[in-house]
């Protein structure tokens, strides 16, 4: 019984059936333990976790400089920015908008810096469904290569106040 005192000598080796199950479970745990790092390096789908400390004010200034340098138009009071391939690209999150709209080239690599001006936000790229945490005080650098042309939305998926559900930005990928 689970609620009564075990007989003396209860500390003994598991029976054959239990040994088999524990062995299978350990083997499976080893497979899982190795699979994650293996696919991190082989699959190259995951961020390296590159990030730097930065104050929101400083990040804002870098983003403004970036927008002024490469602005090509405006959409709904939001700058559209077309940076040259291979450069550093900035995206700011604040309650409750993403700035600017990014216009990127397919199959070119960019270093995307995502930073928050106020609270935690969630960078959720749709419909591809890729998600990153945006934490104030940190410059989160994502090395990104768009592989399909089209319009993508960035929705916020970390609660950031009562207007959270109106926070949606845009990325355009051209051929």
């Amino acid at each position: 019984m689970s609620i009564s005192f075990p007989e003396q000598g209860w500390f003994k080796a598991p029976s054959a059936g239990e040994r088999l199950w524990i062995g299978l479970a350990i083997a499976w745990c080893i497979v899982l333990t190795l699979a994650m790092p293996y696919w991190h390096f082989k699959g190259k789908q995951n961020s390296t976790g590159e990030a730097y400390r930065v104050t929101p004010a400083e990040f804002y200034q870098r983003a403004q400089k970036f927008i002024e340098a490469y602005k090509v138009g405006e959409d709904r009071y939001t700058a559209i920015v077309q940076p040259p391939p291979g450069t550093d690209v900035y995206l700011t999150a604040r309650m409750w908008r993403w700035d600017p709209v990014l216009k990127l080239k397919k199959d070119q690599t960019y270093r995307l810096h995502v930073g928050s001006m106020d609270l935690n936000h969630g960078f959720s790229l749709q419909p591809v469904n890729m998600n990153f945490q945006v934490v104030p005080g940190y410059d989160h650098v994502l090395t990104l290569t768009p592989t399909r042309a089209g319009e993508y939305s960035i929705v916020c998926n970390e609660f950031c106040g009562v207007g959270h559900h109106t926070m949606a930005g845009k990325i355009i990928v051209e051929e």
Binding site: M1, S2, I22, L32, N46, N120, N131, V135, V155
Partner: protein, 536 residues
């Protein structure tokens, strides 16, 4: 209850010999009654606090349950009941009342039971138990006061620099300190039972599991102190805001580990209900106990998987902390997932239900809500909760699941379909045995675990599918009306959100049946004092 009588026969047979494992002379000084059903000694002080904590747990379950229904009806696109501000407010209240208040009050009741009745001991300190209960109730009221008055629309996680009123953080600190004091009272009870030689031999498995939960609780609550005290001081304007990434790291030392208290407590309840309902006996005590030790040693690091797509910690840190040790904790669940149903199978086969591979399972006492809640909890937690948990905890899958509805889809199968359902099953024994009241409308009670399990399973699966289409958690409007740019999701996602609403409503119906029957039993139920509880 013939099965427990068997268990009792073993106990009685051992009392004569001083060295043999079993009960010796108790230390209750008269403050004890013998359970009319199981023959176990019930410390009257402990009984009072088991009752108080269980009542508090059910009250907050009601608050959290009403919130759950409102949320389900808001995320159901065609109903979309609450306005945005109330949706976020009710969501904050739901998380705190369910995950913190209902579950931890219930766990304190379980600790007081395991430390006294199963060890033939009195509760170490009545005064301390009052202090703990008072602090927990005061904290719970402060939290609810802050949330419902709109001063803390910050979600359960309250990630800084999102700020709530100071009374919210104070409430959490008071509740946590109260819980910590209760846990220490439990550990002190273990000590005095040993000191007073109220038993001989190794403690029963359920006590061992409860102790594992208590040890993890101490570590968890210390993390809570580290993160909540600076946040509280900041909310008073005394200090600078804590670093946002630091907060997330340490908060999850609290937030995730507290789920491991739930796992340990739930697995202990599985073993307990297995014994109470079919007379199940662990196959190998060393294996079951070893698995609990794995939880204690390795579960802390699993908290790291909450930061898999965060800045501030590198890829090496993430991979290291979410692979090797997490899988040792997973191993523990794999072991319990084998030994718990195996013990039921062996017990059923011994009773002669030996037909075929699954004859024992069909012959199991499905009419007993204690059994059905336990077994459904085992299946939902083990298959849905365990598999989603392990997959979401890998870096590759986390990137497509982080902060989507797949996350609540996962944890509604662990803490709701798993822990809460197991605790409901426990209540079907706590009320007759500790409150000494019979459940009315037993036919309805027999049905209840199936309704609740069915609803929560449907809701959780629908949440997981909606999340895999990208639908965010904690989100009022997936059509993004009035947003800066248009956004939205596949129509399948909307269908899934409808199923979330339907599943949630069914689960709430199951919860409501449980609440009504339990309240009716406790306040108006027929007393069974002096006789055996009626068989389920």
């Amino acid at each position: 209850m013939a099965t427990t009588a068997n268990g009792l026969a073993v106990l009685e047979g051992q009392v004569s010999d001083e060295e043999k494992p079993g009960f010796k002379t108790g230390n209750h000084a008269g403050q004890v009654r013998t359970c009319d059903t199981t023959g176990l000694p019930v410390c009257l002080t402990a009984q009072r606090f088991i009752r108080l904590n269980a009542v508090a747990a059910v009250v907050f379950l009601l608050v959290g349950g009403v919130a759950a229904l409102l949320l389900a009806l808001t995320r159901w696109p065609t109903v979309h009941l609450l306005p945005a501000d109330w949706y976020y407010r009710v969501l904050t209240a739901h998380g705190l009342n369910m995950l913190i208040l209902w579950i931890i009050f219930m766990e304190i009741a379980i600790l007081y039971f395991a430390g006294t009745t199963l060890l033939n001991s009195r509760l170490a300190s009545k005064g301390t138990a009052w202090v703990a209960f008072g602090l927990m109730v005061a904290g719970a009221l402060a939290i609810n006061g802050a949330v419902w008055s709109g001063k803390a629309d910050v979600m359960m996680t309250s990630y800084v620099p999102l700020q709530a009123h100071w009374s919210f953080y104070l409430g959490i600190i008071l509740f946590a300190v109260g819980a910590l004091i209760a846990v220490i009272n439990f550990l002190a009870t273990l000590y005095i039972a040993k000191r007073d030689k109220t038993y001989a031999g190794s403690v029963p498995l359920v006590v061992f599991g409860a102790t594992a939960a208590a040890i993890i609780a101490v570590v968890t609550l210390l993390h809570g102190a580290v993160v909540m005290i600076p946040t509280f001081l900041w909310s008073l304007g005394l200090t600078e805001a804590p670093d946002a990434a630091w907060y997330r790291l340490v908060w999850w030392g609290l937030g995730h580990q507290s789920q491991q208290i739930n796992v340990c407590a739930m697995v202990s309840v599985w073993y307990l209900l297995g014994t109470l309902t079919v007379g199940a006996k662990p196959l190998n005590q060393a294996v079951c106990r070893g698995a609990f030790v794995l939880y204690i040693l390795f579960i802390n690091l699993a908290s790291a998987h909450h930061l898999l797509v965060d800045p501030g910690v590198g890829a090496g840190w993430k991979i290291w902390n979410t692979s090797y040790a997490m899988y040792l904790a997973v191993l523990a669940s794999m072991i319990h997932g084998f030994t718990v149903p195996a013990s039921v199978e062996v017990a059923m086969r011994k009773k002669g239900h030996d037909k075929g591979l699954f004859g024992w399972l069909f012959a199991a006492p499905w009419k007993n809500p204690g059994f059905s809640a336990f077994f459904l909890s085992l299946v939902i937690f083990g298959f849905l909760g365990g598999i989603t948990g392990v997959t979401l905890g890998t870096q590759q899958i986390n990137i497509i699941a982080h902060n989507t509805l797949r996350i609540p889809g996962h944890f509604h199968t662990t803490v709701v379909g798993g822990t809460s359902l197991a605790f409901m099953g426990l209540a079907y024994y706590v009320v007759p045995l500790i409150f000494q009241k019979e459940y009315p409308a037993k036919a309805l009670a027999r049905l209840q675990p199936f309704v609740f399990a069915g609803g929560i399973t449907l809701m959780a699966i629908a949440m997981s599918f909606a999340g895999s289409y990208g639908v965010p958690r904690r989100h009022w409007d997936i059509n993004f009306t009035g947003a800066q740019f248009a956004a939205g999701f596949d129509s399948t996602a909307h269908l899934m959100m409808g199923l979330v609403g339907i599943g949630g409503t069914i689960a709430f119906t199951g919860l409501l049946i449980f609440l009504l029957l339990t309240v009716a039993a406790v306040f108006f139920g027929r007393s069974n004092a002096g006789k055996k509880m009626e068989a389920w």
